[in-house]
Amino acid sequence: MAIESKTYLPAGMPAPEAMREGLDREFWEAAKRHELVVQKCNSCGTFQFGPEWICHKCHTLDVGWHRVSGRGRVYSWERVWHPAHPALKSACPYIVVVVELPDAGNVRMVGNLLGDPRREVNFDAPVEAVFEDHPEGYTLIQWQLTNR
C-alpha cells in the first residue's frame, strides 16, 4: 500500500532529539505544541540561537525562552542536487533556506522552503514558520513564502 508522504523530505532522515543535558528541551517541546521559541537572556534581553548555557553578551547564566511570531525573511538559500544522506536518494532537488527572524534579534534558523523545489527564491523574501509533525513524535520547523 502506498503511503502518501506528508513531510517535505522522505522518511528515514535523522530525527532530532532534545539534548540529554536539557539545554534545548524547551525548543523541541514548543515545536510539538506548534510554537516557535528562541532563547533569550533574562537579564539583558539578548536573543541566541542555537541555545547556550550562558548569555554571550552579559554572561549571566539566567537564560530563558521567548515565543516569537514565526515570521522571518530568507537570508540565504540553496538547491541541493546531490543526496548526501541515503534517505535523500530520490528526494533531490530540495531547497534549504536560512531564515532570519527580525522579532528575535535577527537570529537565524535552517529549514526547507515548502513548495516547488525548482523555483527561484528571492533574498529577503518574507516567510512564515510551518510546523511539520513527524510520525516518530518530533516536529520540524519548515518555512513557506508569505505576502506579509
Binding site: 532530532p16 539534548m19 540529554r20 542555537g50 540565504s76 540553496e78 541515503p86 536560512v98 529549514g111 519548515q142
Partner: protein
C-alpha cells in the same frame, strides 16, 4: 615588532609525500602511509628520522603521535600537539604550532603530518545514516543540510548576492587549479584538463557548486619537517623560512544553525591583520598563494579577506589569467590543490608553498619570494602561513 614572534626563527626543511591515490585506492593502511611520508620528509631534509622530537597534526588525525613515535623508534618525544577543528583549518596552524614549540624550546625538530585512507575509514562528504541526533546538528541535519558543501554553498550564495557576483569567479578558480595540475605528474587530475564547457555541463552538487567546485577525496599521506632556521641552513634543502603564522576564529563563528553574526565570511577577518603584522608585509608583497579549496566559493571569499581585492572587485580580479602561474597577479594552488592535485587536507598546499620558495614547483612562479598558505575557509578555527625564501 613585538618581542613575541616566530618570524624568521624557524624553517620548513623537509617535505614528504606518498603516492596520492583515488579515494579508497591506497594499497596499504593509513598508519603505514603516515610513516612513509614522515620518512620521506626526513630523507628530504637530510636528517635521520630519529632526529624528530616533536609531532604536530590537525583535523583529528587518526594516527596517534605516540604510536607514530613508537613505530619510528624516536628516542625522545618532547612535544605533541593537535590543532582543534575537524576540517582543513589546521594545515597552516599545525606548522605554526610546530614553529612555536621550536621557538619556545619545547622541541628541536617537529614533524607535521596528515594521513588519509578513506577506503579504510569512510568518507567526509557522506552523512552517516544515524537515526537519532541531538545538539547543533539537530537544527540542520533533518532538513538535509549536513555537509560542508551545503553550508559553504549557503554562505557563498549570500556573498554572491551581496556583491553581484556571477558563476564566473568560481569557474575561474576551478579551472586555475585544474590548469596547474596538468603540469604536475603527481596530481590525481594530471592529464585531465577542465574546460569552461565541461565545468558548466557538470552536475550540480548544491547550487552554486558544480561537481568541479568541490574538492576531491583521496588516500595518501604528507609530512613536513620544521626546525630552527639556524639548523635548516645546514641541511640538504633550501630552507623555506616561516615569516608568520596566525590562527583563530572571528566573533561567534561557532554559533549553531548558521548564526555566525558575520555570515558570508571565510572567517579570516580578525586573523589577517595579525598575520601581515607578524610578517611585516602587505598583500601586494605575496608572490603566490595556496588557498585551501574545500569549495571554490570559500577560495573567493578568502582572496577578498586576505586583501587581494575588494568584495566588489571579485568579478575583475578572480579571473583565470590572474589566478594562474607563471604571470598571473596572484597565482593560486600551483600544484592543483585539493581540487586537482590531491585532497590531503591541505598539507599538500603547505608542501607546494615550500616548493615555490625552493623554486621546484611544476608551475613555478618566477623568483617567488613570499609564499602564502590559507587553511580552512568557512570553518572554525582557521589558520594561515607565510613562507619566504
Amino acid at each position: 615588532m613585538s618581542e613575541f614572534t616566530i618570524k624568521d626563527k624557524v624553517a620548513i626543511a623537509g617535505l614528504g609525500e606518498t603516492t596520492y591515490y583515488k579515494r579508497g585506492a591506497a594499497p596499504v593502511s593509513e598508519f603505514r602511509l603516515a610513516l612513509e611520508a614522515i620518512q620521506r620528509a626526513a630523507d628530504d631534509a637530510g636528517l635521520p628520522v630519529t632526529a624528530i622530537d616533536g609531532i604536530a597534526s590537525y583535523a583529528n588525525d587518526r594516527n596517534d603521535s605516540v604510536r607514530v613515535a613508537t613505530a619510528l623508534g624516536l628516542p625522545e618525544l618532547r612535544f605533541t600537539n593537535m590543532f582543534w577543528g575537524g576540517g582543513g583549518g589546521g594545515g597552516s596552524g599545525a606548522i605554526g604550532n610546530a614553529a612555536a614549540a621550536i621557538v619556545a624550546g619545547f622541541a628541536t625538530c617537529v614533524v607535521v603530518y596528515r594521513a588519509l585512507a578513506q577506503g579504510q575509514f569512510g568518507r567526509f562528504g557522506a552523512t552517516p545514516a544515524m537515526r537519532a541526533i541531538s545538539g547543533p546538528i539537530a537544527y540542520t541535519w533533518p532538513y538535509g543540510m549536513s555537509t560542508p558543501a551545503q553550508w559553504i554553498a549557503l554562505r557563498t550564495r549570500r556573498f554572491m548576492h551581496d556583491h553581484h557576483i556571477s558563476q564566473d569567479p568560481l569557474a575561474a578558480i576551478a579551472m586555475a587549479c585544474y590548469h596547474h595540475a596538468q603540469s604536475n605528474p603527481r596530481a590525481i587530475m594530471y592529464g585531465r584538463p577542465l574546460t569552461r564547457a565541461a565545468y558548466d555541463e557538470s552536475r550540480w552538487i548544491v547550487e552554486p557548486f558544480h561537481l568541479y567546485d568541490c574538492c576531491l577525496e583521496n588516500d595518501g599521506a604528507a609530512a613536513v619537517i620544521v626546525t630552527s632556521a639556524e639548523r635548516a641552513r645546514d641541511l640538504k634543502q633550501k630552507p623555506a623560512y616561516v615569516m608568520a603564522s596566525a590562527q583563530g576564529s572571528d566573533f561567534r563563528q561557532g554559533a549553531a544553525a548558521e548564526n555566525g553574526p558575520d555570515y558570508a565570511t571565510s572567517n579570516f577577518k580578525t586573523l589577517v591583520p595579525r598575520l601581515y603584522a607578524m610578517a611585516g608585509i602587505e598583500p601586494k608583497d605575496v608572490d603566490v598563494a595556496q588557498v585551501y579549496e574545500n569549495f571554490t566559493g570559500a577560495v573567493m571569499t578568502s582572496i577578498v579577506e586576505h586583501g587581494f581585492c575588494h568584495p566588489d572587485e571579485v568579478m575583475d580580479f578572480c579571473t583565470f589569467e590572474n589566478l594562474t602561474a607563471p604571470s598571473g597577479k596572484l597565482p593560486i594552488n600551483t600544484s592543483g590543490g585539493n581540487l586537482a592535485e590531491c585532497y590531503m587536507h591541505g598539507l599538500e598546499l603547505v608542501i607546494e608553498a615550500a616548493r615555490q620558495v625552493r623554486g621546484t614547483s611544476t608551475c613555478q612562479v618566477k623568483d617567488a619570494e613570499i609564499s602564502m598558505v590559507v587553511s580552512g575557509p568557512m570553518v572554525a578555527p582557521v589558520s594561515d602561513l607565510i613562507l619566504r625564501r
